[in-house]
């Protein structure tokens, strides 16, 4: 966790995700107000802010769970106002969840295999017979999934039902499932919430490795400032649905509005 944010070696490319003037309201509650920021290729972009700042809403806008009233989302050059989750997944956006949203009744392997579902094309009849194309497809995707299992070091838990795993490992399976989609953009919603120091270090290592080895662009929400400042390239700060800061970790740390939002100001 010592390498500084602007990690040397990797080349940050052009803008892949551009959010312009996003406003989102639930009835009278204005969750996001005219928020704009961009994400460049291969970078780790953190979204921080106090509770209720609209961070999770922002992720939900990016992958189509929420539909903003105003503003546009441009991903990979495709501009869209309204997108559903399926289209977002097909475009290569994957995410993990703040409160683990694994499929409790399934094994670790099956959970990760669902991440390949979008790529599996064999039809109902082929699957019913199974011998032949459906089985070949299954095995081919099993191999891809095994590579991710190796990468995240969860080989020992392959056949375990996810409900029986401890919290830290469940978070890792959640990440594995998202990685199985081979995403271009990975959204991580508090990947380190509720973890102890060792688990946090492991998770940081995995996030940096994913970013480094697969070149995946990552947007993450995190409350642990040490982690955020260490691993992210740029940080955007939200407060009450508005953007109050944007820049490198050092810039954000020195920003008076950000300090006020976190520590409070006397009026």
């Amino acid at each position: 966790m010592t390498t500084a944010g602007a990690s040397g070696g990797k080349s940050i490319g052009g803008v892949v995700l551009d959010l312009a003037g996003i406003s989102l309201a639930f009835g009278g509650v204005r969750a996001l107000q005219n928020v704009s920021f961009d994400v460049r290729e291969h970078e780790i972009r953190a979204i921080i802010g106090p509770n209720g700042a609209g961070k999770s809403s922002m992720l939900n806008v990016i992958n189509g769970v929420y539909h903003p009233q105003e503003g546009t989302v441009t991903f990979n050059g495709v501009k869209r106002h309204d997108v559903n989750t399926h289209e977002a997944a097909e475009q290569g956006i994957a995410r993990t969840f703040q409160n683990i949203a694994l499929f409790k009744g399934m094994s670790v392997l099956d959970n990760i295999m669902t991440g390949r579902n979008l790529r599996m094309k064999s039809g109902l009849l082929a699957q019913a017979i199974r011998i032949g194309p459906a089985e070949r497809e299954e095995l081919q995707h099993r191999e891809a999934v095994e590579r991710i299992i190796d990468f995240l070091e969860i080989q020992a838990y392959r056949k375990t039902p996810v409900g029986r795993l401890p919290y830290g490992l469940q978070k890792r399976v959640d990440l594995a499932r998202a990685l199985a989609m081979e995403p271009k953009l990975l959204l991580l919603d508090e990947p380190m919430a509720g973890m102890n120091v060792e688990e946090k270090q492991d998770m940081c290592r995995f996030i940096l490795d994913v970013n480094d080895q697969f070149g995946t662009t990552i947007v993450l929400i995190e409350h642990d400032m040490g982690v955020v400042m260490d691993i992210s390239d740029r940080v955007v700060v939200l407060d009450y649905g508005k953007k109050i800061g944007d820049g490198t970790p050092d810039e954000v740390r020195g920003n008076q509005a950000v300090i006020d939002a976190y520590l409070g100001v006397s009026h």
């Binding site: 769970v65 989750t85 997944a89 499929f103 409790k104 399934m106 991440g115 064999s122 019913a128 095994e146």
Partner: protein, 354 residues
């Protein structure tokens, strides 16, 4: 001691993904199939075939169908007897109006017609879930009951509303004796169970289970809820429709619309709850429990030498049956299939505790 997997190393993913990865399980399954196909027809009595095995096989098929929807996809249905009756009446009308069709084709077509009706009544599942969906599918039950009782064309204008079927003939092999009925059903159920197992092991099955366990996460991964839920309704009603056609043609022979009422729907639901939700094997256990237990309860006083009036026996039967269901649900809410799995797990380690 015999049930060990020591030394059975899997060197390919294909070996690891077999339906029965443990050698002893494969041997057991082979012996079981040999027994039910090769030995049972010669040693069991007609009574056993007619009163237990034939209804057990048909209801297992229906329970598998319902389990695909409720146990695997998490969509509750109280209308599955209705889809059974759609299958039965579809088969009846196909045989009546297009007599040259082979019965196997009739069976598939009846299943497909039931699947269409199932899809239609599955549409509400896209907007509502849980108990609300259960009520919506209850509407299917009453609507279909009403249709077959009122629209005379379906029953070929029979004055009493009851229909009777001809003997089934498959490529010159008539399914008339109890043994032949049993063998025919056994073959059909074996194939359908295998197909169901394949489906739930494939990506379709994983999509269903993902919808059941966490629908928002499933959507974010790119699983279409419309597709997952409607295929589950379609495949499930197909199975149940085929089971309905077999129930009518092979088990009942002649029936009236009341044969497929809400009681049958509830019985199917009991089967999968007792047998085990989300388990193909559990569907068999549940069907056997529901078919065999009343018979056992009926005969038990005789064996014990107690003489009771018929009314007393039937009341006791209902009471004991009900309390056993409650008992099972408290002791093992995940059903008999779970008990089976625990037993196997223990056997693997026996005689050591860990």
């Amino acid at each position: 001691m015999l049930y060990r997997e020591n030394g059975q190393f899997k060197t390919t993913y294909r070996q690891d993904q077999q339906m029965l990865p443990i050698l002893q399980d494969r041997i057991f399954m082979a012996l079981l199939l040999l027994f039910v196909f090769g030995v049972a027809p010669f040693i069991f009595s007609d009574y056993l075939f007619l009163s237990i095995l034939i209804p057990f096989l048909v209801l297992s098929l229906a329970a598998i169908g319902l389990n695909l929807l409720v146990g695997y996809c998490g969509q509750i249905s109280l209308g599955h007897a209705a889809f059974m009756s759609v299958g039965a009446y579809a088969a009846y009308n196909l045989v009546l109006r297009v007599p040259q069709l082979n019965f196997l084709v009739v069976l598939i077509l009846a299943g497909l017609i039931a699947a269409l009706v199932g899809l239609l009544f599955g549409i509400p599942s896209l907007r509502i879930r849980g108990l609300y969906l259960a009520v919506a599918t209850l509407a299917a039950q009453f609507f279909v009951d009403w249709t077959f009782a009122r629209v005379k064309w379906f029953t070929n204008y029979a004055p009493s509303g009851s229909v009777s079927t001809a003997t089934i003939d498959i490529f010159g092999w008539t399914v008339d004796t109890p043994v032949r009925k049993y063998l025919f059903l056994l073959a059909v159920v074996t194939v359908f169970a295998l197909v169901a197992k394949n489906l739930v092991r494939g990506h379709m099955g994983r999509a269903w289970m993902a919808m059941r366990d966490m629908d928002v996460a499933a959507e974010v991964i790119g699983i279409r809820p419309v597709y997952a839920k409607l295929t589950a309704f379609g495949v499930s009603s197909f199975y149940v429709g085929v089971a309905g056609a077999l129930w009518g043609f092979v088990y009942l022979g002649s029936w009236e619309p009341l044969a497929f009422d809400i009681n049958l729907s509830l019985n199917l639901l009991f089967m999968i709850i007792i047998g085990g939700m989300g388990s193909i094997l559990g569907s068999f256990f549940g069907a056997f429990f529901i078919v065999a237990l009343p018979i056992l309860l009926n005969q038990a006083p005789e064996w014990l030498g107690i003489h009771l009036s018929t009314a007393m026996v039937s009341n006791l039967e209902a009471m004991i049956f009900g309390s056993l269901i409650i008992f099972f649900l408290i002791v093992e809410p995940q059903g008999l299939a779970r008990l089976w799995a625990i037993g196997k797990e223990k056997l693997r380690l026996w005689p050591f505790p860990h």
